[in-house]
């Protein structure tokens, strides 16, 4: 879902950069107020996991692949605001060193994956309510991670659809349904992987699930 250079108009690039920068400032402030004790090691290893996981594409169907984005995973492990910041680091490194996602599309990519991904915490919260274990929590993680990819794809479809390169070939009327079609499927894999990892972490190392602890405390 990483948008390369050349797909977005200058206006969309600028708008998404401003929107994302504003969210990042907010997340920085909120995260700073949320984590009194050091959690640098957990943050580091979680970000590294997401970076690695994003390199492993899995085939979906009809010659198309997808990879884990990891937004909901980070949200449950780190809490929403640190998850946004963690994913932002991954996206900046991908754009700077690996040409994965264009420099000019960084604002849009941060919005589609880091901000929507990290804030999917609130989807988990909305669905899970007070139950932080069992079927309802598992369902919440599954649905939230699926939705985080589908909503990211929707945002991506809109961003490219209103930009000249894609508006010449039909604009959002074609980009949005096409993005949603593929990411409905890719999102299922995202949901399955995220749910599997979170369930195992919950079983083996429940203490690392900071996001879950925040949910339990009703922090946000």
């Amino acid at each position: 879902m990483h948008i390369p250079d050349g797909y977005l108009s200058l206006e969309v690039s600028l708008l998404m950069s401003i929107v994302s920068a504003s969210f990042l400032v907010l997340c920085w402030k909120k995260a700073k107020a949320t984590y009194p004790k050091s959690f640098a090691s957990l943050l580091a290893v979680s970000s590294a996991f997401v970076f690695v996981a994003q390199m492993i594409n899995f085939p979906i169907t009809y010659g198309t692949s997808g990879h884990l984005v990891g937004g909901t995973f980070l949200a449950v492990v780190l809490g929403p605001y640190a998850a946004v910041l963690s994913m932002t680091i991954v996206l900046i490194m991908q754009a700077l060193f690996f040409a994965d996602g264009g420099i000019s599309a960084l604002g849009a990519n941060i919005f589609n994956m880091a901000i929507i991904g990290g804030l999917s915490f609130f989807l988990v919260k909305f669905i899970a309510g007070n139950s932080v274990q069992g079927k309802r929590f598992t369902t919440a993680v599954f649905v939230a991670s699926w939705l985080s990819v589908v909503l990211g794809a929707l945002a991506c479809g809109l961003e490219i659809g209103v930009s000249p390169v894609f508006s010449q070939v039909g604009g959002i009327a074609v980009t949005v349904p096409a993005m949603l079609f593929w990411h409905t499927l890719i999102g299922l894999a995202e949901a399955a992987i995220t749910t599997a990892f979170i369930t195992q972490l919950h079983r083996l190392q429940p203490a690392v699930l900071n996001g879950l602890a925040l949910l339990k405390e009703g922090a946000f």
């Binding site: 640098a40 580091a44 290893v45 690695v52 390199m55 692949s65 490194m93 060193f97 894609f166 039909g170």
Partner: protein, 90 residues
């Protein structure tokens, strides 16, 4: 701390094992662009290791593995610094 090092080792071993199995099909957005006949334009910035390959290493597995390891440690270090900065009381 020991637990985190163990987790990191697991992640890296998993990466080395999974990498050859990774799909090279276009991803969702690339498929959409291809279907609509939109080509990829020249990126404004190619990065040091475009598409996760070290230009100097011919073996594709090794090239991507090393690029991935480089990226992993970069992300690890920066996120650690971010974590330290976040938990610093002002």
């Amino acid at each position: 701390m020991k637990g985190y090092i163990k987790a990191l080792v697991l992640i890296l071993v998993g990466f080395a094992v999974m990498l050859p199995l990774a799909s090279t099909y276009p991803d969702g957005l690339e498929t959409v662009a291809e279907t609509l006949g939109v080509g990829e334009s020249e990126p404004l910035w190619r990065g040091l290791m475009p598409d996760y390959t070290l230009p100097t290493i011919e073996n594709p597995y090794l090239s991507t593995l090393l690029a991935g390891l480089f990226g992993t440690f970069l992300v690890l270090a920066l996120s650690f610094a971010l974590g330290k900065a976040l938990s610093k009381t002002s």
